[in-house]
């Protein structure tokens, strides 16, 4: 078993090994190890308070685990700050929407391009030809994302005036604007209606195919996840209780127990 894992190691884009995370004595994650393949849709599911978001925060650098290591490719990044991880190509979306409501959709997406821009405020003010060229190039990238996410009709609207479902889509667009190597999504379907959920599911599949990157989804809603995920991890009370493809997970007694409670014998 150990040997096979070692051989497959270079196949993994991201790994978290033996993560322990606690808050003032409350164990949020215990002994959790996961890996993310080169181009897969990976779902992390579990009941409320299972530690799904904590795990995602460890991957994206918002939390630093007390024990255990996080690797991106071969680099150890356990203590790296979130913005530095972003530079490596780790992008994430948020459970609540974290956008600039007073800016337009395009400007919000352009903030995602910030780390790819070379010219600063003063050059922007002077607006030399190279600044112009950069702006053209970045705008083009943003337009490609607008096309992918089908938000052409709202590109000049202020984000604050958009519906929740659309704002989530802009949030996703901004993460994509970074041209990430891996995309982490925190409950992308929370609070959405069925149609909006299906839209997001379709975009996740499109993103994987168009950009050829893995997508890690933390999700509470089993239904959609079962339809689109290649592989699933199940968390319960900070422990990893199952791993496998959707079929395996559906039939796993541990998972059924975690979600539905134990079957009582009378």
């Amino acid at each position: 078993m150990k040997k096979r894992e070692a051989m497959e190691e270079d196949k993994y884009l991201m790994r978290a090994v033996d993560i322990h995370l606690s808050f003032a004595g409350v164990m949020a994650l215990q002994n959790v190890s996961i890996h993310v393949g080169q181009s897969e849709i990976l779902a992390i599911i579990g009941p409320n308070g299972a530690g799904k978001t904590c795990l995602l925060n460890c991957l994206s650098g918002f939390y630093h685990p007390q024990k255990g290591e996080v690797f991106f490719r071969d680099q150890e990044i356990t203590q790296l700050k979130p913005h530095k991880r972003a530079k490596l190509g780790i992008a994430r979306t948020f459970q609540g929407v974290q956008l600039f409501p007073g800016l337009t959709v395009i400007d919000n997406l352009l903030t995602g391009r910030h780390m790819h821009m070379k010219t600063g405020a003063i050059q922007g003010f002077l607006y030399r030809p190279w600044t112009h060229r950069e702006e053209m190039r970045e705008r083009r990238k943003v337009e490609e994302i607008i096309d992918l996410l089908e938000i052409k009709h709202i590109r000049h609207r202020l984000v604050g005036s958009l519906s929740y479902g659309l704002r989530k889509r802009i949030d996703l667009g901004r993460a994509l604007a970074m041209e990430p190597k891996v995309l982490l999504m925190d409950e992308p379907m929370a609070g959405m209606n069925l149609e909006e959920k299906e839209d997001i599911a379709r975009f996740v599949i499109d993103i994987r195919e168009a950009m050829d990157i893995p997508v890690v989804i933390v999700e509470h809603d089993m239904q959609v996840v079962m339809d689109i995920a290649d592989r699933i991890y199940v968390l319960n009370w900070g422990h990893l209780i199952a791993e496998g493809n959707p079929e395996e997970i559906k039939g796993n007694p541990e998972v059924i127990k975690a979600y539905l409670g134990e079957e009582r014998k009378i």
């Binding site: 705008r139 607008i146 052409k152 009709h153 149609e195 379709r202 499109d206 195919e209 168009a210």
Partner: protein, 655 residues
């Protein structure tokens, strides 16, 4: 044959094109590309920027695609189908198919797979050019149900990255094939195009099928040129007018406008980025020629109305005042009356403060050729746009015989559908008409009616003593303007013997911002007229919220006593214009929205009356048995194909 000097003037030297041996659309494309080479012909917004295609570029694209299709085995006389939103590739596809002597058939992009299957099989299509994944998926789903389809071509590859199917090819791959084919046969395209004749079938236009299965109406190159010159004779059009191609070429009107007039005049044909962005796009390019269906003009008018309901009292006052001045001045001019000096002095101010900003906001500032295609739109809608300073005109005709009447000149009656259009002698004798005893319009002249594809019986039925029987009930005013009453089969007699025009009533009711769809009832077994109303939740919802009227669903809102009162008020306004006996006496607010996916409406959003009468039989009997309320059960179909039953208490309202 006397052709009025004004018509001759409108035509100018346009007809000379046809002295150069041009008989088909692709021949005209080659001819115009020689004349105008680098001038912009097609424009499409892509990645946020308007991309231009000159005449030469369009020709090059058409040429390579045509040769690719030819290399794939598409032969003269065969049919190629097209499905997608209006985009340059759709137009190029059509010219390419016609270039190698094929017939083009365009399908509405929101067709379901079974609807597509019928048309693809009936038209004997050997290939289909699709816009995107959505359309390709439908064709692939049909699989062996459309056995004649040999190649599936698509131009937007989003989501298509991992598709593998032996019949699938991209637009560019076909063009690449064409380029190779051209290297071996350098002048094949020109030869193929030159072999085309004016009487060749260019397009099969399927009629929208309000009655029975859709019929494929054959359109020759000649008939499209005929149509283009009828318009050009009725109204002068500047070369390189900015045209917005929005209505689908599945409808013969856009075949005549964007595809034919686009080449003849020529126009700059602009394509909206997405259907959702069309209003923004119309404004961006400074559209000069715009054709909408009556429904689309109505919805534009009700957008303005409902936005004004949201505006503050001062703005609302200015809007009402400006429109009142506009109405006084513009409508008087339209009727050929003198405008009192006081109003004339106010007009520049009203224009500056209200009308110009309004036109500008809607993108109608530069529009000089605004047109509503169809038979019936409430004159109120026309007046609304005229008051604003947009000279909206109606064009009326049939898919089979081309265009008949048009609001011509500077003065015309908005209650009518206009005067008869001229026909250029090159394309046939002038239009002649007579009105049968039942009131049906019969027409002959122009390039005539070619027939329905594979339906010679249905074709023969439509011809009476050399006249084409339109099935429309009309009458002519003493000023030679035509008034459209209704479809002949839809003029209804009541049991009292009184005839009433249902569509007339419906169109006027639909102008209410609160009513989305309406169907009138009343036939020889029924003593009075009644109506089933589909409220517009987009406007009734905010109206209710403003008045603190709580509601949960569409069903709940539709049966709310206050809402029923609101709709009653709207009907009373229309009843005021109707003679005794035609007034609406009772009505029901439908507890669900009418939906084309449930076959309640056609794709062009016309009511499917007989189907509705069956489906809502319980409602109808409640109205005429004098019930005040009843427990209704309506079968509903969900988006994913499941079915269910909506059970609810429905009220019948009296007027």
């Amino acid at each position: 044959m006397n052709i009025p000097a004004e018509v001759e003037r409108n035509w100018g030297d346009l007809p000379n094109i046809f002295d150069q041996g041009v008989e088909t659309l692709p021949q005209l494309l080659i001819y115009q590309a020689k004349r105008f080479g680098d001038r912009t012909f097609h424009r499409k917004k892509d990645f946020g920027i308007w991309q231009q295609f000159s005449f030469s570029e369009v020709l090059e694209n058409v040429k390579t695609l045509a040769m690719g299709l030819s290399a794939l085995g598409v032969r003269r006389g065969e049919t190629v189908a097209m499905i997608g939103e209006n985009e340059p590739e759709l137009f190029w596809g059509e010219y390419a198919v016609q270039g190698i002597g094929g017939k083009a058939v365009c399908l509405y992009p929101d067709f379901t797979a079974p609807q597509m299957a019928y048309l693809l099989n009936h038209s004997d299509s050997v290939a289909i050019i699709c816009e995107d994944q959505e359309q390709v998926d439908k064709v692939l789903e049909l699989g062996e149900k459309v056995p004649k389809i040999g190649t599936i071509i698509y131009w937007d590859d989003k989501g298509m990255w991992k598709y593998k199917h032996p019949k699938l090819m991209t637009f560019k791959q076909v063009q690449e094939r064409g380029r190779k084919h051209l290297q071996e046969n350098p002048d094949k395209f020109e030869k193929e195009v030159a072999a085309g004749k004016g009487d060749d079938i260019a397009v099969i236009s399927y009629t929208s099928g309000t009655t029975g299965l859709p019929k494929g109406c054959l359109g020759t190159h000649k008939s499209f040129f005929d149509a283009a010159l009828r318009i050009a004779g009725a109204m002068p059009l500047k070369p390189f007018t900015q045209h917005m191609s929005y209505i689908s070429p599945a409808w013969a009107t856009e075949q005549m406008l964007g595809l034919t007039m686009g080449l003849v005049i020529p126009l700059v044909v602009n394509f909206p980025e997405e259907p959702e962005t069309v209003r923004e796009n119309i404004r961006e390019i400074g559209t000069e020629a715009l054709t909408f269906t009556p429904r689309q003009w109505e919805s534009l008018a009700s957008i303005v109305e409902s936005k004004m309901l949201d505006a503050g009292p001062i703005r609302r006052w200015f809007f009402r005042w400006g429109m009142a001045v506009g109405r006084k001045v513009n409508l008087a001019q339209l009727e050929g009356k003198n405008v009192p000096l006081g109003w004339r002095l106010l007009y520049p101010l009203a224009d500056k403060l209200v009308l110009y900003p309004l036109r500008d906001n809607l993108g109608l500032q530069a529009v000089y050729y605004a047109q509503s295609g169809g038979s019936g739109m409430a004159p109120d809608v026309f007046r609304f746009f005229h008051a604003m300073g947009v000279k909206l005109r109606n064009v009326f005709g049939t898919t089979e015989m081309g265009l008949f009447t048009f609001h011509q000149g500077e003065t015309y009656d908005l209650e009518t559908v206009g005067k008869w259009m001229p026909v250029h002698p090159r394309f046939g004798p002038p239009l002649e008409y007579k009105i049968s005893d039942e009131g049906e319009l019969l027409v002959k002249g122009g390039s005539g009616f070619t027939g329905y594809y594979k339906e010679s019986e249905a074709t023969a039925k439509k011809l009476v003593d050399g006249y084409y029987a339109t099935g429309d009930a009309v009458y002519m005013t003493d000023k030679n303007e035509m008034v459209y009453l209704d479809r002949l089969e839809d003029m209804r007699k009541l049991s009292t013997g009184h005839s009433y025009p249902p569509q007339f009533i419906e169109n006027r009711l639909r102008f209410s911002p609160f009513i989305k769809e309406v169907m009138t009832l009343g036939d020889p077994e029924k003593p009075f007229v009644s109506a089933m109303i589909n409220i517009d939740i987009g406007t009734v919802g905010p109206w209710a919220e403003e008045r603190r009227i709580g509601y949960t669903t569409f069903t709940d809102l539709s049966q709310n006593p206050k809402v029923r009162e609101l709709i009653q008020g709207e009907i009373e306004k229309v009843n005021y214009f109707l003679p005794e006996g035609s007034k609406v006496m009772r009505f029901i607010n439908l507890p669900k929205e009418l939906d084309p996916d449930e076959d309640e409406l056609t794709r062009s959003r016309k009511l499917r009356r007989s189907f509705l009468e069956q489906k809502y039989a319980g409602f109808i009997s409640a109205i005429y048995s004098g019930k005040e309320k009843f427990e209704a059960e309506v079968p509903v179909k969900y988006q994913d194909g499941r079915t269910g039953v909506l059970k609810t208490l429905v009220y019948v309202n009296n007027l």
